[in-house]
Amino acid sequence: MSLPGLTTINKGRDSSEHAPKNRLFFKLLKSKEFSVLSALLVLSVAVSLLSPYFLRVQNIFNVLRQISVIGILAVGQALIIITSGIDLSVGSILGLMGVISALLASAGLHPILIFILAILIGCLVESINGLLVTKVRINPFIVTLGMMSIARGTSLLITGGLPISIENPITFLGGGYVGPVPVPVILMFIVAIMGHVFATKTLPGRNVYAVGNNERAAKLSGIRVDRVKIMVFMIMGGLAALSGMILSGTLNSAEPSAGTGYELDVIAAVVIGGVSLTGGEGSIIGVIIGAAIMGVLRNSFVLLGVSAYWQVVAIGIVTIAAVAIDSIKNRKRD
């Protein structure tokens, strides 16, 4: 690397720029993921004290399985929210992609081909969101609210409102097991790891944060902001397609109404996981833990025999509490 001739002005005032390694622990303690993780642990300990079933392997897999779809979608949603966008159409696109993959299955395609095609179509559908947000400059809230309706309507039109049953090995994605582990759980972990690596180690991942932090500065630094935004929507589309196949695979049938209301759960998981709604901040690991908190919460209500309606209320309270904590922290920081 050539430093353009700055050696002479380097009068070498010693700077304490290398953080000592033993402070790593404290850094970890201060990190957002840590506070989310501790919340999850506290919650889990509490539930396990109240119900002996909670820590059984069977139940743990059950919880993981329940959160897998929300977790996968939350990875995509997190990337969009970090660019300071939002996607309300995820649930509907999930439903639509379930239906489309069922149609592909009934056309007798090879499962691998179905998989690839579904992912591509998912990307394509979400790229419409991305294009409308960047090129026509419509607010993402409005664009995806419209798309939510369009995608749902399309699934209903295609199916006539009736579920399509699937007889194809593609259902392995939703109903299969590898040893004792349900396939959706494995898929969630793969997506989470890929998402984490993407966000922290790659150029496009870094650009996602840059755009969310300061769009203008990103543009001036040579980042093609529009492309970054379209990219995150397309990633979301691929993940929505994967989720659609998982959900229809679990039931061996594609419901046109599958995924209704998921957008709220997904956004809740992202927010609980510590992603700032103003963009520019957040981590994929945090988001997965956020999804897990919601899963454990739901599971505890079932185990403790509390009315399912309270679940809905509790999720809402936790979501608001998470944002409140974040906002109070931010206020202190100024």
Partner: protein, 508 residues
Amino acid sequence: MLSNDILLKIEGISKSFPGVRALDNVSFDVEKGEVHAIVGENGAGKSTLMNILSGVYIPDAGRLLFDGDEVRFRDPRHAQETGIAMIHQELSLAHHLSVMENVYIGRLKKNKLGFIDHRGMFLRCKIELECLGISDIEPDALIKDLSVSQMQMVEIAKALSLNAKLIIMDEPTSSLTNKETEMLFAIIRSLKNKGVSVLYISHRMEEIFEISDKTTVLRDGTYIKTLYTKDTTPKELVSLMVGREFNRTFQRKNKEIKPDEIPILEVKSLSFGKKVKDVSFKVYPGEIVALTGLVGSGRSELVQTIFGLNNKDKGTILLNCERVEINSPTRAIELGLGMVPEGRKTQGLFLRMKVRENITMANLPRLCKMLFISNTKEHDAAHSYTSSLRIKTSSTEQQVQYLSGGNQQKTIIARWLLNNPRILILDEPTHGVDVGAKSEIYEIINKLAEEGVAIILISSELPEVLTLADRILVMHNGSISGELSREEANQEIIMQYATNQINKEMVK
């Protein structure tokens, strides 16, 4: 002076933020009808103190006596009602409302029916503005249609209409032209005659010596000294501010252009909207060309158009005599251009990202293998620039928002140096930067020019332009109104070109 002339007594004020002691036991007095300058490097605690006085922050310790009574401000409104008004550096006006609505915001005049009395408000606002000698702002104009300096005047009118006894001005002239600054000073003098006190924060020594009666120096959050301005010198103030004798007067060797040299950048009749009209100029390697003129004269728009941020209406750009199309900053960077934009927080920094990430942002593709960022390459790059530019930060992993203004600016400069630009555009690179960092930035610019980098420097500070530039282009109203070599340039001539003063005077 008698003690009953004291308007504000600051006693032992302290304030800490997580990890920083911003103010430590600061005490001094402000008398009635005095202009009291506050100076100090960035991070000395000026802004924190002003925010305490205007009710934004609550001090951890100490007390304030205003007009003889102890006051504890709950919020800025409470401070305003008590008689302290603050004019922020970043103006706090509602852009989509009219001038009068902004002046009377929160206490709009009502008529008998309880509706807003637009007519009454219009007339009162008009009078208020005329008291300030302002005739070119209509009370019903929208703020967004005003120039920055006009906005400043509206802020002052607002403060006056509140019957403030103490007006705090934070860098009020940073976006004003010399003529407007003179106007502001006239207003300050008339305020003084009415017995209003002014706390005046500025980095500009000339202004402090022109307008202030007393000057208080802060350093690292502590009170250093209050002096009668007429009894001190800029040199003394600067040495009090930095805590050491400051005698580095920057001197640059002029770049000489050989007759057969080819320009690295040539702009031919470039136009963009109403802001850039038919501009042509050349820049040679190793040359520092200053682009000056009033705020709003089109300087920033011109460089943004060159950098591909605006789509030009017509004109050509040649690099090394080769015609290039620059349709995006990405393309500009590929061609070896760099730009440190004006407004480091709005256009430059990624505030919640790390110093390291801020430094490598424009050069990341070159630090990647496939699409993966090389950890070692990135850290090395960040480390070598934090040390070579002496960026003061606890670590390259620190979020850039916690750095002082000067170090933030150096971080942005580092981003562009890392890119090895052939042409570097610097738009107000020392705006709001303290004296120490300023001279370091000058050294960097000079060094780059010696390395053969062509520099386009936009600056409103004429001393800066005169110190650094080989050639000075003055803009007025979207076109270049004058070109001066360093020898023929001085502040008066530049201002004449910048304002077209000569012509106007002659018409009169």
